[in-house]
Amino acid sequence: MANAKFKSKSIQKTEAAPVQRQTDQALFLRPTVDIYEDAGSITVKADLPGVSRDQLDIQVDGNTLTIEGKVTIDMPEGMESLYADVKATRFRRSFALSNELEMDKISAEMNNGELSLHLPKRAELQPHKIEISVN
């Protein structure tokens, strides 16, 4: 278990980007995720089997959170594939974040190929109960 690295960069718009994305997409596996919310935060759990901590890249680009990971498994030399469910070696999935989340305080943990992302909400935006007075 360890914190994964984070990178943040500003949005750069280039003309070629959409084309690039489309060709890339065929090469990526889409990790399955669970997403849930409680009073203080949103949690994203993603299955990234075969991705080690240093092959994991999590980026927040503007409002977009992107999870990317490279599958590294040792294979003996001269191995021929007999059967393959997994035909690509990279995982990628993106999510649009909303403003009440604190981008700088997102934390990540990797355990047995399972990524846990913790996205805390801004303290001032956390819900507080409205008291209803009864006359």
Binding site: A26, R30, I35, D47, P76, M79, E80, N111, N112, E114
Partner: protein, 147 residues
């Protein structure tokens, strides 16, 4: 569209793959009959099998499983992998997506017939169970020297 959302769907490419499978279902599989123990595409866990002259390697992509809940056995050339994955949602949390597999699983895989059931080792690392079975030596191809 029919199909399952578990496992590794790959957007565009996967849609073609799903379409191809559906065509197979309707018009019959041109690549021959299905394995009796084969499972539907996208079942958890995904499995890759590779073979080299000396060994057969099986990779089971089972993320987030407690290694103690994983069980694998080899009977002749029949490999069984089973386990249990328990995903618990914290109390009071609101779930938006629950795509990940939760529960018990079991897969039975037929390996090439020349594997040696006594020479197996298995390791679970980064959510991948890697089972390596040696092939019987007497059956390995031998180089014939030409004099």
């Amino acid at each position: 569209m029919l199909g399952f959302s578990t496992g590794f769907d790959r957007d565009l490419f996967d849609q073609f793959e799903t379409m191809r499978r559906q065509m197979d279902d309707i018009f019959g599989d041109l690549s021959g009959p299905l394995g009796i123990r084969s499972v539907a595409a996208g079942s958890y866990p995904a499995i890759n099998i590779g073979a080299s002259p000396k060994q057969v390697d099986v990779y089971v992509f089972a993320a987030g499983v407690d290694p103690q809940c994983l069980d694998s056995s080899l009977q002749q050339n029949l490999l069984t992998v089973s386990g249990e994955r328990q995903i618990e949602l914290p109390e009071g949390a609101q779930a938006y997506r629950r795509e990940r597999f939760n529960g018990r699983f079991k897969r039975v895989i037929t390996l090439p017939e020349d594997v040696d059931p006594d020479k197996v080792n298995a390791a679970y690392h980064d959510g991948v169970l890697h089972i390596c079975v040696q092939r019987k030596e007497e059956l390995q191809p031998r180089r014939i020297e030409v004099k």
